[in-house]
Point group: C2
Amino acid sequence: MASTEPQADSVDVVIVGGGIIGLVLTVGLLRVGVKVKVYEQAQGFREIGAGIAFTANAIRCMNLIDPAIPVALRSSGSVATSNGGDEDPNDYLRWIDGYDRQRDDPSLQQLFFKLNAGYRGFEGCRRDQFLEALVKVIPPGVIELKKRLETVHDNGSENKLLLTFQDGTTAEADAVIGCDGVKSTLRRIMFGDDHPASRPRYSHCVAYRTLIPMDKAVSALGAYKATNQHNHVGPNANILHYPVANNTMINAVAFIRDPNEWTDEKTVAEGTRDDVKAAVRGWSQPVLNLVDCFPDTLSKWGIFDLWEFPVPSYNVGRLSLAGDAAHASSPHHGAGACMGIADALCLTTLMEQVVVEAQKSPGDKGRALIAALDTYSAVRQTRSQWVVNSSRRVCDLHQQQEWADATKLIKAQTCFEEVKDRSLKIWHFDYERMVRDSLQGYKQRRAPINGATKDKNLY
Amino acid sequence: MASTEPQADSVDVVIVGGGIIGLVLTVGLLRVGVKVKVYEQAQGFREIGAGIAFTANAIRCMNLIDPAIPVALRSSGSVATSNGGDEDPNDYLRWIDGYDRQRDDPSLQQLFFKLNAGYRGFEGCRRDQFLEALVKVIPPGVIELKKRLETVHDNGSENKLLLTFQDGTTAEADAVIGCDGVKSTLRRIMFGDDHPASRPRYSHCVAYRTLIPMDKAVSALGAYKATNQHNHVGPNANILHYPVANNTMINAVAFIRDPNEWTDEKTVAEGTRDDVKAAVRGWSQPVLNLVDCFPDTLSKWGIFDLWEFPVPSYNVGRLSLAGDAAHASSPHHGAGACMGIADALCLTTLMEQVVVEAQKSPGDKGRALIAALDTYSAVRQTRSQWVVNSSRRVCDLHQQQEWADATKLIKAQTCFEEVKDRSLKIWHFDYERMVRDSLQGYKQRRAPINGATKDKNLY
C-alpha cells in the first residue's frame, strides 16, 4: 500500500479529457515529473475520424514539450498538405475565384492570392491515428475512460481538490486542467451554469466535409488544382480542399454561411449535396464539377466558438482550461489545435517550476500552483482569444458579398494583405519568447515586489 | 532663350497640388535632378490650419527623401504628441473607457490598453507652418499658384504630355504626378468621370475638431489625462485628445458615427457642441466635462475615403497618383499622410534611376518613366490600400456597440490585440526594403526576362 500513498512533495494534476491536447499535455507533464491522471468520459478516445493539420510552428512546440510527440505525429502518417512539386518544396495556401465564370473558357479560374507557408508548412494526419500513437507514449494506468466529471470542490490551497464523477467515484488532485473541448464541463464548473461562456455560440457557418477519390477530383478540377490546396472564395461560402492519404484522395470542405439558428441537439448533423449545390448556384464551372463529386448525403458540422462570450480567465485558482475548453475557435485559420499545443508548452514549462519548488517546500505547493496557473492565463489568453476573433474575421473576408459584384472586385481583393498578416502571425509565433515570459511571470508572482497594489488601470 | 529651351535629356515632371505630399515629393525630385513644376489651384497653399502628426517611421522616410525635410518639420515647431514624463521618454497611445460610469468615483475611468510608440513616436505640427517651411526649401519659380488642371493629352511615350489649365494656359511634361488630395482632378482624368474611384465615398463618420486651453482641460480631465494622449472609446463614438502648442492647449477630436448620407456640398460644415453632447449622453463624467469645454459651434468634417472603390492602379502610363489622391484614408490610424511620405520616397528612388538613364539614352525616356511608375504602383498599392481598410476597421473597433454592454466587455477588450498589430505594422514599416524592391522592380521591367507572357494567375 505504501507505494500508492500520496507523497507530500508530489504534484498531482488531473487532466479532464483525453483528446489530442489532453494527451499532448499529459506527455509533457509526465516528462517534467508531474503525477498525472487523465479522465475521459467516452468509452474510447475522443477524436473521431476526421483529419487535422498542424503548422510547422506547432510541431516545433510539440518537440519542446517532448520529442516523443512529433515522432508520434509522423508515425501516425502525417504528410505535408500542399504539394509544391519537385521544383519548390514549400507549401502554399491559394485563394482562387470560386464565383466568376470566365467567358472565354469556363474551366479557368483567377488565382487571387498565394501565400508561402514554408517547408512542410502544414502537416496533416487523421485525428484517431495521431491519438493512438500518443496513447502509446503514455504509461498504462494514467488514462481512465468512462469517467464523466460532475463537480470539483476546493477546500483551500492547503488541501487537495476533490473531484466527483457521475459514476459516484471521486479523485483528488493538486490542480485540474480541463482539456475537455468546446463543450467543456470544467469551464461550466469554474464559471457557473449561468455564465455566458458556459454555452458556446453558433458562428452561423456550417461545414460540409467529405473525401473524394483523386481521379474524380482531377476530372473535376484538373490535375494541378486537385493535387494542391485551394480555397475557392465567393459570396456567403468558400470551398477548401487539399490532397490527403498519399495523394489518393482529396479532403473537401464547403463552408456555408447560415443566417438561421442551429437547432440540432448535436453539432454534427446530416447534410445533403443539394444543400451545397444551392449555396454555389451559378459559381465557376470547376466548383460546380467538384460539388457534383460530393456524396448524396454527408456530415454537416455546426461551428460553435467562444467569440461572442470569451472566458474571463483561463484559470480560477487551481482549476484551469486549455485548448478548445479555453478558447474554442472556428476552423478558418486551421490553427485552433495549434493554439492548444502552445497552451500545453506553456503549462509544461510552468509545472516544471512547481515540481522543483514542491520538492523544496511541499507546504507551499498550493500557492506555487496558483502562481503557475495565473501566469499561464496571463501569458496565453490574449493571443489565443485573438485567434478566435481572427478566424471569424477571415471567414467574413472569404465569404464577402463583394466577390459577386464586378465593381467591388478590386476592393474585395485588398483583403489578402490582412489575410496574409493574420496567417503570418500564427505561423511565426515566437514560442521561445512565450517560454521566457512564462518563467519570468511565474518568478514575479512568486516573489512580488512590494509596493502599491492599487489598480493602476483606473485613474 | 537657350537656357529655358527644353533639353532632350532632362526629365520634366509636373506635380499637381501644392500640399504637404506634393511639396515633399518636389524636394525629393529636385534633389535627384528631375526638372519639377508644381501647379496648385489655390491662391495660396492648400493646407488649412489644422494639426498633423507624423510617425517616427515617416520622419525617417523624409530624411531619405532629403534631409532638409525633417529639418523643415522641426523648424516649424513639431513636438512629440504624447508626454511620458521625465521617467519615460517614450510616447504611448492610450485607449480608455469613455462610456462606463464608475460607481465608487465617477471621475475615474478604466485604462483598457496602452501601446508604446517609441521615442518621439508621433511628432505633431501645424499643417500651414510645415508647408511654409517646405516652401522655403524649394527654389523660386518651381511652384505656380492659381492653376487648375483641366485635361492631360498623351500622344505616345515618344512625345511630351500636354496639360491644359482652366485659365487657358498649357504646360508640357514627361510625367504628371497628382498630389491633389481626396478629390483629385488627375484621378478623374486618369480613370474617367464615370469610374467609381473618381468619387470618394462618405465613411459615415464625422469628426468634430477643436482646441481647448490646458487649464480648462486639466479641470475637466485631471492633469495626467489632459497632458497625455488619450482615446476615449464608447458605442458609436470615440474622443481623442493630445497636448499641442507646447502643452498650452489640447487638440480634441470627437469621431461620431453617422447613419445618414453627407448632404453638404463641402466636406467641412459647421457643427455644434450639442451634436457632440447628444452622441455621448450618459458617458463617463470626464468625457462629459471635456465636451462641456467645446465651443458652442465648431468645425464638423465629413470623412471621405477610397475604401469602397479603390483605384485600379496608381499609374496609367506616365500619369500617376500619390498621397490621398491615390489612397485617401479616414484618419483613425493617424497614418494617412505617412503613407504619402512613403509614396514620395518610392517615387524619388525610381525617378533618380530615370534621370540617369535619360542622360544615357534620351530617346528611351518615355519607356523608362512608364517602367518607373508601373513599379511605383506595384510597390505601393497593396500596403497603402491596406491602411485605408485598416483605418475603417479600427474605427469600427473603437466605436463598437459592445462597449455599452457589460456582458460583452470582455469580448470588446479583445480588440486591442488587433489594434496593436495594425499599429505596429504602420510604425515598423521596412522602408529600406521598399527602396530595394523599387530598384529591383524597375530593373526587371527595364530588362524583362524572355519567356511566356501567359497570365499565370488564370488556370
